[in-house]
């Protein structure tokens, strides 16, 4: 028993076993936990949500589209539709499927939890954009209304999720849809991105990879069947129309036009000054609030004052104080350099 080699092997095997069991997201225990949630209730709720989204976006909803969205067979979809009909959640008129008022409020409750959770993850945790939706897809079937209300209160009762979608209230109120698709813009037109659809996931991650986010100012250059070409915060961006359809735009809200070229704060060299124009939307939650509390808001004069030994972080002079920021933060603060003084 006390043979070192045997013990060594047992030790290694034990560590390996623990790794396989507990490894986050890919481990056996997390997988089992996840699979448990994919039950009948989740399917019913997902179907309701899908039908609601169809209505919100004025798309007709059929049995086939439900099956396609939920990734199940047409027969299974028929079963779910029948069940929902029995529960009084939907009305089926030939091909056309519509929510009853009861079904609508149920769907809105699920959507509320989903969007609240995304907002929570975005603002209060270190999870990345790509993980929010997945996590919210799970939690939406689990969180009770009461817990959802508590969560909402804790994070300041948000009314928009991080993608720019409105969050329904506890009573199921939701504002009407505004804005239009990116593809509906004309060349030369300017607009603000107000929403990025997070489903399907593959398209969403492509948009995220392009660095686009709600609140971004864009100018359309070219739009046709093959490609959509536009400028976002000064950088050119080309998308296929299929992907561009996931982006909703609204009228521009900026009061003063931007002069000069937008540069990230991180491009300032020690001794250089600039005027802050904005903070990227991707800097959110506490991070964003902290920066603004410290006085980094549009219109603020900022000067790079001091580099640390390795050059990151850099200390900036803001409103009479010296504040150190990491490069990944400074990359997300935009300004125009104050070059007149040189």
């Amino acid at each position: 028993m006390n043979e070192p080699l045997t013990l060594l092997l047992i030790g290694v095997l034990f560590l390996l076993l623990m790794f396989i069991l507990l490894q986050p997201t890919k481990g056996i225990i997390p997988t089992i936990r996840r699979n448990k949630s994919a039950n009948q209730k989740a399917l019913l709720e997902d179907a309701l949500k899908f039908i609601y989204n169809c209505e919100y976006n004025n798309i007709s909803c059929t049995l086939n589209s439900i099956a396609g969205n939920l990734n199940i067979s047409a027969d299974a979809a028929a079963g779910i539709v029948a069940k929902l009909q029995n529960m009084g959640m939907i009305q089926v008129d030939k091909e056309y499927i519509a929510l009853t008022s009861e079904g609508r409020s149920y769907a809105l409750r699920v959507i509320r939890v989903h969007r609240l959770w995304e907002k929570f993850l975005a603002d209060e945790t270190s999870m990345t954009e790509k993980e929010w939706h997945k996590a919210a897809e799970e939690i939406e079937h689990k969180l009770s209304d009461e817990d959802a209300n508590k969560l909402a209160a804790q994070i300041g009762n948000p009314v928009f999720d991080p993608h720019g979608d409105p969050i329904p209230t506890a009573k199921g109120e939701i504002p009407e849809k505004v804005g239009k698709h990116l593809t509906e813009m004309k060349p030369g037109e300017m607009a603000t991105i107000i929403h990025i659809e997070d489903e399907p996931h593959t398209i969403y991650s492509q948009i995220v990879a392009e660095g686009l986010y709600p609140g971004m100012q864009i100018r359309m250059n070219e739009v046709n069947d093959k490609r959509v070409k536009f400028e976002a915060n000064g950088d050119e961006c080309i998308l296929s129309p299929l992907i561009a359809k996931s982006i909703t735009i609204g009228p521009i809200k900026l009061e003063k036009p931007v002069e000069g070229k937008l540069k990230p704060l991180s491009s300032l060299k020690v001794g250089e000054k600039g005027i802050v124009l904005g903070i990227a939307k991707s800097l959110r939650g506490q991070q964003r609030r902290r920066l603004m509390d410290l006085g980094i808001v549009p219109g603020t004069e900022i000067e790079a004052e001091l580099e640390s030994v390795t050059g990151d972080p850099v200390a900036y002079r803001v409103r009479g104080t010296t504040i150190a920021l990491r490069k990944n933060q400074a990359d997300k603060i935009y300004l125009v350099k104050e070059e007149e003084r040189n």
Partner: protein, 478 residues
């Protein structure tokens, strides 16, 4: 009737607010902050006059340039830390032995004589004087002097404004492992005392990074563990090499353990920020305050009251009951054998797998209040377990020996080898925090979950490391 109308009116206000929020969009907070600062700028323009040139804080700027420069930044930092630690270790030696002379060598016998003169039952004398009093005396005499030197020095650097610059310079390293630059400071504080280090994490204002700093603080080898490391390194590692190398090699071994501790704290930070603590909020900002001339007297006073006495008090509160337990396990017998010996015999086979022994495991359990009393407890237990006569001060009475050779003799009689020594050094680095620190962690996090994580994670790591070291050692040795 009337009340329902007003209730409705209230709900209407709330619903109205919600509607307005949707209309205003998500930038409301941004717009508001921009407005407030616009107002602030306007008022400041009318009331504040800055000097024409950059005279404002020119001294600060100059000093900052030096302290954060590519060439001098790190050397100055290491020099400062080196001086602080040297002052602490050297300065504490004399008062420590003075206190030990007074509390352990003088007052302890006096108390025993007194107890004898009033015919106190032997077991009461044992529990109160050999147990509770001695543990307390030990903790005070080893803990007080280094803390009373280290904390004021640290506080002086803190009040002057140097420490934020250290955090500024060290940040890239901590950024890589998902932590905050200020963790460098709480770690440095941890070298003085882990409990104080945990309290010091208050300066980290981002929740996730603060938790990381709290959980990993224990990997900073604290004041209470340095003497253990030095003693064991001298006894086992120093004696394994030629005499002229003994000093350097054993010193290197201790430094290696301390550096290993820093490495572990970074690795664990990295691991935590990617797994358990992924769900915690993170917000980095580091203000560099202007330098201020420190007020020496005030600093001495506050660091003594706020840190030294505070931590010492917590340690004493835990040491007293533990002293009683230590005495009791050595003196309560079942079938003529003490509880301690029963436990040691029972645990020995398990301890063997980890290259340790029952005495060490028992000592780490009952000496949980303070790492300072681990060695005295080990010596006492070894002597009692082997039934050696003529050494020590009696059953259940902790003691220490002047000469390292005597320690070596006792431990070797207890079956210790070089492997046991190395494993003890590793285990002393990687085991649960002392109870004072555990309690402080609970106080600071107010969470049982994180307290448990910080308690058991290092034990698991310690057992894993000693296990593998032992097996590989034996495999190569055979």
């Amino acid at each position: 009737m009337n009340t329902t109308i007003t209730a409705n009116k209230k709900e209407i206000i709330i619903a109205e607010a919600n509607k307005l929020r949707w209309e205003l969009g998500e930038n409301l907070h941004d717009i508001l902050m921009e407005n407030i600062y616009e107002n602030a700028t306007e008022i400041a323009k009318k009331t504040v006059k800055y000097p024409d040139t950059k005279i404002a804080f020119s001294f600060d700027r100059q000093l900052d340039k030096i302290l954060t420069s590519k060439y001098f930044g790190f050397p100055i930092m290491f020099l400062m830390l080196g001086i602080v630690f040297w002052l602490t270790i050297q300065g504490a030696n004399y008062p420590s032995s003075l206190l030990a002379n007074l509390l352990v060598d003088t007052i302890h016998p006096l108390l025993k004589n007194f107890a004898g003169s009033i015919n106190l039952p032997w077991w009461l004398t044992g529990v109160l004087i050999d147990g509770a009093y001695l543990a307390m005396a030990w903790v005070v005499s080893v803990m007080l002097p280094p803390m009373a030197i280290f904390f004021p020095l640290y506080t002086l650097l803190e009040d002057f404004g140097y420490l934020p610059r250290v955090a500024f310079n060290m940040d890239p390293l901590y950024k890589k492992v998902g932590a905050h630059g200020r963790q460098a400071l709480t770690m440095a504080m941890g070298f003085g005392c882990n409990a104080a280090g945990v309290i010091a994490t208050r300066v980290i204002d981002s929740p996730r990074e603060r938790l990381i700093a709290i959980i990993t603080n224990n990997f900073s080898l604290c004041n209470g563990r340095w003497p253990t490391q030095i003693l064991i390194a001298t006894v086992f590692i120093g004696s394994a090499v030629p005499a002229y190398l003994a000093g350097i090699v054993s010193a290197a071994a201790v430094v290696f353990i301390a550096v290993l501790g820093i490495t572990f704290s970074l690795l664990v930070s990295w691991f935590l920020s990617r797994t358990l603590l992924k769900g915690e909020a993170s917000a980095f900002s580091l203000e560099l305050p202007p330098y201020r001339p420190p007020r020496i007297l005030q600093t001495l006073y506050t660091s003594l009251i706020d840190r030294t006495i505070f931590v010492l008090w917590r340690a004493i509160v835990f040491a007293i009951p533990a002293g009683m337990v230590i005495w009791l396990v050595a003196n309560i017998t079942i079938d003529g054998v003490s509880v301690a010996n029963h436990f040691i015999q029972w645990v020995n086979p398990v301890a063997f797998i980890f290259g340790l022994n029952g005495v060490i495991l028992l000592a780490y359990i009952i000496a949980i209040p303070a790492n300072e009393i681990v060695i005295p407890t080990i010596l006492m237990l070894t002597v009692a377990n082997l039934g050696i006569q003529g050494v020590g001060a009696g059953s259940g009475v902790m003691f220490e020996l002047e000469s390292a050779n005597d320690v070596a003799a006792i431990l070797q009689a207890g079956g210790w080898t070089l492997l046991t020594g190395i494993n003890l050094m590793l285990f002393s680095l990687l085991h649960n925090p002392c109870s004072t620190t555990i309690y402080t962690i609970y106080k600071e996090t107010k969470s049982v979950k994180w307290t448990l994580v910080s308690t058991f994670l290092p034990i698991l790591m310690g057992l894993t490391v000693t296990f593998f070291v032992t097996q590989i050692w034996r495999l190569l040795g055979n």
